[in-house]
Symmetry: C2
Subunit: 420 residues, 2 copies
């Protein structure tokens, strides 16, 4: 059995590598035509998609899947419309492939530039949400990459049905159907093979929980563009506009608890803690947010539970907030250096000196001034759409849009120059 | 024994991580002062360096090291001067850290940009040349990274002596001496530990032969910026200026046989093969270059040996050249797609159509028009200096200068905007 899964994945890999040489050269017109046709066929096939999805939902109910997961798994009319809208939006985006940057003329007259080119073959490994099948395939296709999609077994029928729609779009635009392949086995060995086929796969983008990503990080030989924790901080400086600070700190926690940009620890300068903390505590209480504070915090918010060392390192992804009162900016930066996961942090201050120091010294993928951390999102950054948020240091950092799915090659144009 | 090597490497790693937080924030003035002082101390300590180097040379002779390797290992006065000059050149380069790119104002008034920041901690693993100790340390320091250097055992005393000079420079500029650490053990287990300490090391740059790099690729958990083969091609199109083609093809092979940009296979359009090949064959014969050709090639160059399938895949790094006559541009591009290592290729043509098609379709890290492949070099690209040439697809491709040793963070400046 494992043997035949390996063979299947080898075949998929070889087909993807071959398809990537076609899609790398495809015109934007071809790629956009494929995406728009997929959008049309999604809407026309809503009943088919819901029928296939119903099989997954029934299995999920039989397996007593949690209601939240059932909700993510469901392909409602609304979900189908959102996917179609997303496809049309991505079709309309500017194609990065072939654009030149860093163009210069060298002293010997050679023209030099960097040309954007696709990464090649991208593997996407994801969990229950079937819409990832469409969103990820669309971004990879637009940026000229071949894609291998490996969704969760709980969305098996939904993903295959969406894969059929994708193939229709590719064929309609005259592109090879192997440009996007949905892995048609739920055998876990397929993942193990996918993340080690370095000859066929250039990068793996996992979309899922921490356990998935940790396991893949340990076993992969193919490079990952990965998202680990989002333990995000806001520091309210002594020179903050306190009304602004109140609004930002409130929204950063309560906008949506489950997103990676949600604030998990609030740091407050001692000089303004008395003005800030009781008012914030009341607002958080109205949202049923549980507060866990350091000793000083608890002098201002007596109801707060004592925070432990573990709290500073925790991404709650829920209605809990850790709060620490610090003596100065340096202590805030130190706290972040020790406990942050390097995702997104923000300082609230009106002073240039503190803002600049914070933004230069904090080594996270996004560092804000006077903004809530929940802006960490590809749409908000003007990237149009995102395939995820990278916590890597290399290649691409923060929200990853089309450009993060490309690399470059050097192009040099001469007229017979020789080396000296 | 292995236990204590692991402990040593853990200590070095922890110190490098700590030092990286200092050097990340250091001013260009501090970094350049350190580099210039190292240059001065190198020259003042030439006798000390040569004494330490003599110990390595004696060991090498006792171990019957090849003359070419002995040559690479030798720290002559000239080699010491070259290192000092290199340090002063790197000191004078523009510091990429802190510069902003992709700056925009978003519709909601938020200012967004990407700020260049150091990668963090870089491990360099290299073989016999001790000058890498200085060159690599200097580039990593200038770009704000902490560095762990692991040279070959045959250069042990030389590398430690150069490490002492580096420490003097760091101390002179008020920087922690742990910003650059030379690993003081020749135990091979140190390498195994270095390439798996993901908590302390952000990237490994190997400088050495293919065997070293293949072994590291298989065992590393830390990302590598690596250089594999340089199987480079020149294609002489039917619309080439034949005099230009002659000069370029001759220099691309004979400039220096051992460099990765040296041409290893020459592809020639059938329509001009008769005019091009006999003349080139005579010139190559004057340089004692052995020719291996396809059947058609041998009708024009009867002395050429028959080329085998293996020849198309071989990076000779020596006075051997494979030659194939092709029917058209498409066949040349196909040959390159199948056999190239993705390093550097060039087309010789006077026509825009052929030049554009070649440059768009060939998927190598550098693609030239009317230039010899030996331009693949950081100095020639205007990067000032290079730490190596990357054959990776991700992060950095082709010659790697200071910018390749950095990454970016997103910086957003707002005035209290909330998410909608």
């Amino acid at each position: 059995m494992t043997q035949s899964v390996n063979e299947l994945m080898e075949q998929i890999g070889a087909q993807a590598r071959k398809a990537s040489t076609y899609i790398m050269q495809a015109s934007d017109e071809q790629k956009s035509t494929a995406l728009r046709f997929m959008a049309q066929r999604l809407l026309e096939n809503a009943d088919y998609l819901k029928t296939e999805n119903a099989k997954d939902l029934e299995n999920a109910r039989n397996n007593n899947l949690e209601p939240a997961l059932l909700d993510r798994l469901t392909l409602s009319d609304k979900a189908i419309h959102l996917m179609a809208t997303g496809l049309n939006q991505i079709a309309a985006m500017a194609d990065p492939v072939g654009s030149l940057s860093a163009t210069r003329v060298l002293p010997n007259g050679i023209n030099i530039a960097q040309m954007r080119v696709p990464l090649g073959v991208i593997g996407i490994i994801y969990e229950s949400r079937p819409n990832v099948t469409i969103d990820a395939a669309a971004l990879c296709l637009k940026s000229g990459n071949a894609t291998i999609l490996r969704g969760g077994s709980e969305a098996f029928h939904s993903n295959l049905a969406l894969g059929n729609i994708i193939r229709e779009g590719l064929a309609h635009a005259g592109l090879p159907e192997t440009v996007v392949q949905v892995v048609s086995t739920t055998d876990r060995a397929a993942v193990g093979k996918l993340i080690t086929m370095t000859e066929y796969v250039d990068v793996i983008i996992p979309r899922g929980g921490k356990n998935l990503i940790k396991r893949l990080s340990e076993e992969a030989r193919v490079p990952l563009i990965k998202h680990l924790d989002g333990n995000c901080h806001i520091y309210i400086d002594q020179y903050a506009d306190l009304e602004k600070a109140f609004q930002l700190a409130l929204q950063a926690k309560t906008f949506r608890y489950g997103i990676c940009g949600a604030m998990e620890t609030l740091l407050v300068h001692a000089a303004i803690a008395q003005e800030v903390l009781p008012r914030l505590a009341q607002a958080y209480a109205e949202h049923q947010v549980e507060l866990r504070g350091c000793e000083k915090t608890r002098t201002f918010i007596p109801d707060a539970k004592p925070a432990t060392e573990e709290d500073w390192d925790t991404e709650y992804l829920g209605p809990i907030l850790a709060i620490r009162v610090v003596d100065n900016l340096e202590q805030a930066i130190e706290h972040i250096a020790r406990h942050s996961s390097g995702h997104t942090e923000s300082i609230i201050t009106e002073r240039i000196h503190e803002a600049t120091l914070f933004q230069r010294q904090v080594d996270s993928s996004s560092v804000y001034v006077n903004l809530p951390t929940i802006f960490a999102d590809g749409f908000e950054y003007g990237l149009g759409a995102e395939i995820g948020i990278s916590t890597n240091r290399l290649h691409t950092r923060g929200p990853v849009g089309l450009e993060g799915l490309t690399t470059y090659k050097w192009v040099l144009n001469g007229n017979g120059q020789l080396r000296k």
